[in-house]
């Protein structure tokens, strides 16, 4: 039992707070002690699994493991792209209906993106193939 929780229980025992207040305080302490979100170091690889069944070629299984560091390196490489070329990329993305500004993608804010990818699982399942993409 940690000191904060003991303090709450002492206050309850001394009658300084009632049981409902003690419960609220302990719940707040537990929330505060919840593990911090994992950083990029925890997500090491992007896994792509493909299980296809083609009539002509028969069953095919593909298993690809891509290091997440490659994503970071790719963003750094994107930083080298000339401003004019970046504008063209943004314009092309806008034409495709993707309102994304690649200028905003920097190694600094990549951690947030990867954090969101951590819980991402993409499952595509149809007659001919099953595709699964997830982080590990």
């Amino acid at each position: 039992m940690n000191d904060n929780r003991r303090q709450v229980l002492d206050m309850l025992a001394e009658g300084k707070i009632n049981s409902a207040e003690a419960e609220r305080l302990i719940a707040a302490l537990e929330r505060g002690a919840a593990p911090a979100p994992r950083d990029m170091g925890d997500v090491k690889y992007l896994r792509v699994l493909v299980d296809a069944n083609d009539e002509a070629e028969g069953p095919t299984k593909v298993n690809v493991r891509v290091p997440m560091q490659l994503l970071r390196a790719g963003v750094r490489l994107a930083g080298v792209i000339h401003d004019r070329a970046r504008d063209q990329v943004n314009e092309a993305l806008r034409k495709e209906g993707i309102p994304f500004d690649i200028n905003k993608l920097t190694p600094d804010n990549l951690g947030d993106l990867v954090e969101q990818l951590r819980d991402l699982t993409v499952d595509v399942d149809n007659e001919r193939a099953k595709v699964r993409v997830f982080c590990e």
């Binding site: 298993n63 560091q69 490659l70 390196a73 790719g74 750094r76």
Partner: protein, 97 residues
């Protein structure tokens, strides 16, 4: 040199065509390839420098970024398994991971 800025130093390649009793297991020393390419890069540096002045890009940053992409491929695994063959490729770093 920090291990995280080194490109993959070796690769494992396993190939087993259907019908073969034993597969082929190869260990490819990629560091030899980098040793061969390094003098070529040094020879190309003046040209790249002139190119960076003409097209106005930061040569040092570009080289670092390109090396970063190469280094980040360490740990990549590709496995393809179908009726005709089974192929497995893995790029290793310094610690063979």
């Amino acid at each position: 040199m920090k291990p995280e800025i080194l490109p993959p130093l070796s690769a494992s390649l396993h190939v087993k065509p259907a019908g073969w009793r034993f597969g082929l297991r190869l260990w490819l020393p990629l560091f030899l390839l980098w040793l061969i390419l390094l003098p070529l890069l040094l020879l190309a540096l003046p040209l790249l420098f002139v190119g960076s002045l003409i097209f106005r890009f930061n040569l040092w940053r570009s080289l670092r970024a390109a090396n970063g992409v190469l280094a980040a491929t360490r740990g990549t695994q590709v496995e393809v398994n179908n009726r005709e063959s089974r192929v497995f490729i893995k790029l290793h770093g310094k610690d063979m991971s």
